[in-house]
């Protein structure tokens, strides 16, 4: 740092040779008159400059012809010619709004005020203060209509992003575009490298992405260099993470009492070992698998700089996160180099390059059979972790795999190497006519290393022969886009027209080996070659290719910035479809009216902005269809045994359909943007109808077809109607500055058709007992389906009064026989989709202090609490939720169907029913951050901010599982709202520093 200061000092001296006079002055706030310390004062076109001191004064030397540039974060930049003055006092005006903000809209940019479609920009300033480890988390609670749910809290775990609800039964993830390149995820982006982030929501905005834009588009632009002196920024934080809530399971005494009761009720002798509940060994399994105070640390350094001809942005970052469950962690190294060059006035060339390595260790999650958290919640609390000889002990009273041993024997590492980059050229052929070509590529290589050592814990939990697996995958994507853009104003008429063309190809390749018999468990010899069974290894591998050719065009026209029209068109041809259905055409139209530009509103002071927008468009979706579905292909591995030998077999599992084409969604969008009180209060409201038709579905075909996999067909319709509202109030006028925002989204989903004769589709299988959700025409997707409870039978008379349930006793759950036909009826038990989602955020600052709060909430959804199926079981076979101490224990003692009597041989109470379905609403304090920026006189020439941060500090919910924030399950889009004891999100406390100089 000192060296850099010296260099800077030297540079100043060098320039001062040419100085002719000294200029002094004070910089103040135009509104309050208070002096502004830390304002940058620069001689335009040079690197000569200074910063105002604590009193707002500055002094530098300049010539008469120089222009001084005064800039300060949050204020409008001001340029003043020196002339003959020697004292230059300047007052800066607060930058009111982002109305003139430039927004990236795909193959170009637009002024925010000219937008006609539904485009939302993420507030980067706020995002930067949120301290997130991956960028998709940063989207959470930021944009109306964008729901981000963490699928798993495991470090590096998946995220589910939905723009305007679930638009299709297929993959409903949005398209991500990073620096012009279409990518499937944004895990690789270092959050601190992001310059801007936009979400395109409606068809008129996303149509420029044609067949890939139907689920919304998230556009990310990474930081570019500046025409200024090098600026170095350094960000770092260190934190600790813990479970925000412990598993609510019983201790050994409580469980033993209930287990004895259950066995007595079933006429079985209680286990002799549990005869004295108060003197039992107690293992808190949940604690045993937890990694208390799991560390997270992040370091990031970035440098921007450049001159008029060339500039650059370089960054390096490292993140290391331990998980709150033992043996889970995530590590990411990332490097970025972005440069821009202007070799000629009419030519700009540039490149962006990022290299990322991630490494993730994980343990078994998601499934409800053996997942570590389920095991820890289900294992009987009496069994010890270890035998006396130090080996792992098996469960005494149930055959759950000892979760500590399971973690110990799990060795599952995924390492991913990714290179993404693009080079581009912008050529101004004539004034206003630009040709831009952009070539992007991604090369990713992933390898999954697994090792399952030889071990023995019990007859049902052992591995007699060690096994090693290695799965490799590589992904190679090329994308080349060329656009020609013409910008021209004819008096009051402004026109921007763009035509373009693009090709895209993806080549994906995978192979793997699994071999048995590594002679030792030594971690240094875990290689295939050391396996005794290397020559009998199981191997597999194949490829797929997806290609696309596109033509696109867009025209924006406005009259006096008052009446705005946008027309988009894109045509895509995809290799996934047969030649006759290859091309899809996706048009959209939208218009805007900036009412405040009309004369009749010019006198209304309090109204600063009012714009009405409307749009219509059609876009496609092909993402969910795997390649080659138009032909019937053989699948190998359908083997059989002849003569004691493994005979390779093959079969045609499905039937190709060469009729398949894009699914199409048609969106109509109406929006109103408004700003009041000099845009201090601004917001927007939007209403949309999005209808997806020709939905690509693997519609089940009758079993007699003999097809193991249903062929893809275009059938089925779904509709989402929604309302989005966002509001922001900011006041930057005084020393106490603040900005408060709220967003609100409600979406109604309805399945209009599932294709011919297809009345419903079941989703979410659960532990071999059936399906939890059913998607039926006329209802929202994935409704819970099962029995409805009606309290508990209190006495024999109540049992005798009905015929639908047999073999029950008082204290058992009573189910509803809705049609009174003497048989129980499966009914719909609620929706995993919320009625509405909302979030609040606030940024407050006073002098050097700042406070940032983000609250995020979901309301009205239901969750199937998978863990409670075990932990509220009457059988007491598994460990129990402590609230089962409230079980029915005699007439009138309990009426809530969640807490029936104990009975070791129970069948009645474990039926899939609303007993296990809970209100999933929650409100979570995602972020609470308090920062302090040191005064400039303490640390010269640099901005130093330190902060304390808490994530997931409080969660307000009635849900009793580990975490109400659950995303997609393991069984696809229809596996919604089923909590199989997902890895919950951690509560994080951290301390961090942001340094810029």
């Amino acid at each position: 740092m000192q060296k850099i200061s010296l260099i800077l000092f030297f540079l100043f001296c060098t320039y001062s040779i040419y100085a002719q006079k000294e200029i002094k002055g004070i910089v103040t706030d135009a509104n309050t008159g208070e002096s502004l310390p830390g304002v940058s004062v620069l001689v335009k076109g040079t690197t000569v400059g200074t910063i105002t001191d604590l009193n707002g004064s500055y002094a530098l030397t300049a010539t008469e012809n120089d222009v001084l540039v005064f800039s300060f974060v949050g204020y409008k930049k001001q340029e003043v010619k020196v002339g003959n003055q020697e004292t230059l006092d300047v007052s800066l005006v607060v930058e009111e709004t982002g109305l003139d903000e430039i927004v990236v809209v795909g193959y170009g940019t637009q002024k925010k005020s000219d937008l006609t479609g539904s485009v939302a920009a993420v507030d980067m300033e706020e995002l930067n203060s949120r301290q997130v480890s991956t960028i998709d988390q940063a989207l959470q609670g930021q944009v109306a209509g964008v729901d981000v749910t963490v699928n798993s809290g495991t470090p590096g775990g998946g995220i589910m992003v939905r723009v305007r609800g679930i638009g299709t039964l297929n993959d409903a993830s949005p398209l991500y575009v990073v620096d012009g390149m279409m990518v499937d995820d944004i895990d690789f982006v270092n959050p601190n490298d992001i310059e801007s982030m936009q979400v395109l929501k409606d068809a008129s905005a996303t149509a420029i992405y044609g067949s890939r834009g139907s689920n919304g588009v998230v556009i990310i632009t990474t930081k570019q260099g500046t025409e200024k002196d090098a600026k170095i920024s350094f960000n770092s934080y260190y934190g600790i993470q813990n479970f925000w809530r412990a598993a609510p399971v019983a201790n050994s005494e409580q469980w033993a009492i209930l287990n004895n009761e259950a066995r007595n009720a079933a006429g079985l002798a209680p286990y002799p070992g549990l005869a004295n509940p108060s003197s039992l060994n107690y293992t808190d399994w949940f604690k045993e698998i937890s990694n208390e105070n799991a560390a997270i640390q992040s370091y990031d350094i970035g440098v921007t700089g450049g001159s008029e001809k060339s500039n650059y942005f370089v960054s390096a970052a490292y993140l290391n996160q331990e998980g709150i469950v033992q043996k889970t962690d995530f590590e990411r190294f990332s490097f970025r180099l972005n440069t821009t060059h202007k070799p000629r006035k009419w030519l700009t060339i540039g490149q962006n390059l990022t290299l990322v390595k991630t490494k993730q260790n994980s343990v078994l999650e998601e499934d409800e059979w053996n997942n570590i958290l389920i095991a820890a919640m289900n294992m009987d609390p009496v069994s010890p972790v270890y035998n006396n000889d130090g080996t792992f002990a098996p469960g005494i009273y149930n055959d759950i795999n000892n979760p500590v041993a399971q973690i110990y024997y799990t060795n599952d590492t995924y390492t991913n190497y990714r290179t993404l980059g693009n080079v581009y050229l912008d050529f101004e052929i004539l004034e206003g006519l630009h040709f831009k070509t952009n070539y992007s590529l991604e090369y990713a290589f992933g390898v999954n290393d697994g090792f399952n050592p030889e071990f023995y814990v019990s007859p049902t939990f052992q591995n007699p022969i060690s096994n090693i697996t290695k799965d490799n995958n590589s992904n190679f994507i090329n994308q080349w886009s060329n656009t020609l853009t013409y910008v021209k104003s004819f008096g009051d008429h402004n026109l921007t027209a763009m035509i373009g063309q693009e090709i895209y190809s993806q080549h994906y390749e995978w192979d793997g080996i699994s071999a048995n018999g590594i002679p030792t468990n030594d971690p240094n010899v875990r290689f295939i070659s050391n396996a005794n069974g290397a020559t009998q290894a199981v191997t597999y591998g194949s490829i797929y290719d997806v290609r696309q050719v596109s033509v696109l065009a867009r025209a924006n026209y406005d009259y006096k910035g008052k009446y705005l029209v946008t027309v988009n068109f894109r045509a895509d041809a995809s290799s996934k479809f047969s030649e006759k259905n290859r091309w899809g055409f996706f048009p959209s139209f939208s218009a805007g009216w900036r009412i405040t530009e009309e004369d009749f509103l010019s006198n209304i002071d309090w109204l600063s902005n009012l714009k009405l927008r409307a749009g219509w468009g059609q876009i496609g979706n092909q993402g969910s269809v795997p390649a080659y579905q138009n032909v019937t292909t053989a699948t190998t591995g359908q083997n059989y045994t002849w003569g004691g030998q493994l005979i390779p077999g093959a079969a045609f599992l499905s039937s190709g359909n060469d009729e398949i084409k894009w699914e199409t969604s048609t969106t109509t969008n109406i929006g109103l943007d408004f700003g009041f009180l000099n845009n201090k209060l601004e917001g927007s409201a939007e209403y949309f109808i999005k209808k997806t038709s020709d939905m690509l579905l693997q519609v089940p075909v009758p079993g007699q077809s003999g097809l193991a996999e249903a062929p893809w067909q275009n059938t089925g319709e779904m509709q989402n109607t929604g309302f989005e509202f966002s509001l922001n109030y900011r006041n930057m006028d005084n020393a106490f500055r603040y900005s408060i925002g709220a967003i609100f989204t409600t979406i109604k989903n309805e399945v209009l058709s599932l294709g011919n004769g297809n009345e419903f589709i079941d989703g979410s299988p659960f532990r071999g007992t059936g399906y939890l959700t059913r998607t039926i025409v006329g209802q929202p997707i994935a409704q819970f389906y099962g029995y409805k409870t009606d309290g508990l039978f209190q006495n024999q008379a109540e049992i005798d009064a009905q015929t639908a349930q047999t073999g029950v006793a008082p204290g058992d759950v009573r189910y509803v026989d809705a049609d009174n036909d003497g048989e129980l009826d499966l009914v719909y038990l609620g929706s995993p989709l919320p009625d509405f989602t909302y979030s609040f955020n606030a940024n407050l600052s006073y002098k050097g202090f700042d406070l940032n709060i983000v609250l995020q909430g979901v309301h009205g959804n239901k969750i199937f609490n998978g863990a409670s199926w075990f932990n509220r079981s009457s059988s007491a076979y598994w460990n129990l939720n402590v609230d089962m101490l409230n079980r029915w224990a005699g007439e009138g003692s309990q009426t809530d169907a969640r807490y029936p009597r104990m009975n070791a041989m129970d069948v009645n109470n474990s039926q899939i029913s609303d007993r296990f379905i809970e209100d999933g609403s929650y409100l979570r304090i995602k972020t609470l951050q308090l920062g302090y920026t040191l005064p400039e006189n303490l640390v010269k020439n640099m901005k130093l901010r330190v902060y304390l941060n808490a994530q997931n500090l409080f969660t307000f919910t009635k849900y009793t599982g580990l975490d109400p924030e659950i995303g997609n399950g393991m069984y696809g889009t229809l596996d919604l709202g089923v909590d199989r004891a997902f890895y919950p999100q951690a509560r994080l406390y951290s301390i961090g520093v942001n340094l810029t100089f």
């Binding site: 079985l268 000629r344 030519l347 055959d399 050529f427 052929i429 040709f435 019990s458 049902t460 022969i465 090709i503 190809s505 699994s514 048995n516 069974g533 009998q536 199981v538 797929y544 290609r547 696309q548 050719v549 995809s574 290799s575 290859r582 390649a627 080659y628 032909v631 019937t632 292909t633 053989a634 359908q638 083997n639 059989y640 045994t641 002849w642 003569g643 004691g644 005979i647 390779p648 077999g649 093959a650 079969a651 045609f652 039937s655 089940p700 009758p702 079993g703 007699q704 077809s705 003999g706 097809l707 193991a708 004769g757 009345e759 071999g768 007992t769 059988s875 041989m905 129970d906 069948v907």
Partner: protein, 478 residues
């Protein structure tokens, strides 16, 4: 400079346009059905694929014992508790609904097998690229497989849609054929198959054990006749098999249910399982889950198929077959070997007994579900008992075949004078826990021996999802 750049860009554009003509034609990395059947090896590989579903979890491995034994009076379900595999329990109590997953697997897997057989038949028929010999062989085996899958459908559901070719989507919704039409199709396929299939001895000589044989086709045909009460035909085909000299009774009854007994002298049709160190569950490997399902819970298994006291008591005094069928608390198996193991009855066990016929000693077990023990679908003893049963109904010497079966385990000739009764008795003891009991009871009109059975439960419900997808299917009364 500007113009030069323009020219370069334009020429790149022209070159690019020329080279991207075939850009969108990406050939599939897998073989399509249009080119698949191009040589003998491909035909054999597709044929092996048609055998494959027989060995799936949902086939012999689960629902045959789930129905054949557990639904009958021979066994209780067992498992972790009553709620473990609730769909099997629902079948057992005759309260299953049409959404039962066991029944669904029954329907779908059989039709997948049929489709694979049909695909092979269509792929090789009149295909010049495949040698005449292989064509004949493959078609004969595929017809046998088609009949096998069909038999397993008819047994459970009665008349079902007959599918003898690869269907196009408009043909997916054909209605049910009558049971008689189905039997006729099964008989036709088996007769045609038997004409071209080699004998078991040839299979053994060629190291092809596990592929269909003349004897297997004839035996399945006999079984079809027995189910139809075509006693004269059953007697005739059983006699053909017996006289062929291809099969004998294994002198050691217990040996049949060991790994060494697989494909033994008595085996007429074994579903093949093998341990190839693949690991995993279910269809990941070529092993069977029956071993781990039926092994007692206190001995590392899941404790399903718990023999009833009723079955235990049905054995004649001194019948050694009981100890090879039923495990009691404290039984010691494989005594004197490294595998010696004492068996315990777990606290959850509903009957106090475990099943004995499908477990392997520790040294022969595979990982997870990769146990290599075959499923004996037709044993020669059953062929003898069919002959006896046919003759008991039709007149003729039923005593000789029946007493052969008894003599093998050291039992004296039967003293029973009612041939039908004698056969019923002998079948239960000889074939216990081999998934025959339920079908024996219902095909002989003795379903009333099972609690909850009524005659309308003869056939199981057609899966509701199938009826939804094909409204032309008429549901069974149940």
């Amino acid at each position: 400079m500007k113009n030069k750049l323009l020219i370069i860009l334009l020429s790149i554009g022209v070159v690019f346009t020329q080279s991207c003509k075939d850009y969108l034609d990406t050939p599939a990395p897998d073989l399509s059905d249009a080119v698949y059947f191009s040589n003998d090896q491909a035909a054999i590989t597709a044929l092996a694929g048609a055998y494959d579903p027989m060995a799936w979890y949902g086939d012999m491995q689960l629902d045959d014992w789930a129905i054949g034994d557990v639904v009958s009076d021979d066994a209780e379900k067992g498992g972790e508790n009553e709620g473990d595999q609730p769909d099997i329990q629902a079948l057992r109590t005759f309260t299953a609904n049409a959404e039962n997953s066991v029944i669904l697997g029954r329907w779908q897997i059989r039709y997948q097998g049929i489709n694979r057989a049909n695909k092979v038949i269509e792929g090789v028929s009149d295909n010049e690229k495949i040698s005449t010999d292989v064509r004949k062989q493959v078609i004969a085996e595929a017809k046998f497989l088609r009949a096998f899958y069909m038999f397993e459908l008819v047994k459970v559901f009665g008349g079902v849609p007959i599918v003898t070719k690869v269907l196009s989507p408009s043909e997916y919704t054909a209605p049910r054929n009558t049971e008689a039409e189905c039997w006729a199709q099964i008989e036709k396929d088996l007769k045609e198959a038997a004409a071209d299939l080699p004998k078991k001895s040839e299979r053994v000589a060629n190291n092809e054990v596990g592929r269909a044989t003349w004897g297997a086709a004839k035996a399945l045909l006999t079984k079809a006749y027995v189910f139809q009460k075509k006693w004269a035909d059953a007697d005739a085909t059983a006699t053909e098999i017996i006289n062929s000299g291809e099969y004998q009774l294994d002198p050691d009854y217990g040996h049949i249910f060991t790994l060494d007994g697989d494909n033994g002298v008595e085996s007429v049709w074994d579903i093949q399982y093998g341990d190839f160190n693949i690991g995993g569950w279910d269809r990941d490997n070529e092993g069977t889950t029956v071993c781990i399902f039926t092994r007692g819970r206190d001995n590392g298994g899941w404790g399903f198929v718990c023999p009833t006291q009723n079955l235990y008591d049905a054995f004649e005094t001194g019948d050694p077959r009981r100890e090879f069928t039923i495990i009691k608390e404290g039984d010691v198996l494989w005594a004197g070997t490294d595998d010696e193991e004492e068996f315990y009855i777990d606290a959850q066990n509903p009957t106090g007994y475990n099943s004995r016929k499908h477990i392997l000693p520790a040294s022969q077990q595979g990982q997870m579900s990769e146990d290599p023990l075959n499923w004996h679908y037709i044993r020669f003893a059953e062929v003898l008992l069919w002959q006896a049963e046919a003759r008991a109904h039709n007149g003729g010497d039923w005593q000789t075949p029946l007493n052969l079966v008894r003599a093998r385990v050291g039992l004296p000739a039967t003293t029973e004078t009612d041939g039908v009764k004698a056969v019923y008795h002998e079948r239960r003891e000889e074939l216990a826990l081999e998934a025959h009991r339920y079908w024996d009871l219902v095909r002989t009109g003795r379903g009333n021996l099972m609690n909850g059975y009524t005659d309308n439960k003869r056939f199981f419900l057609i899966p509701q999802v199938e009826i939804n997808l094909n409204p032309n299917l008429e549901q069974n009364p149940y």
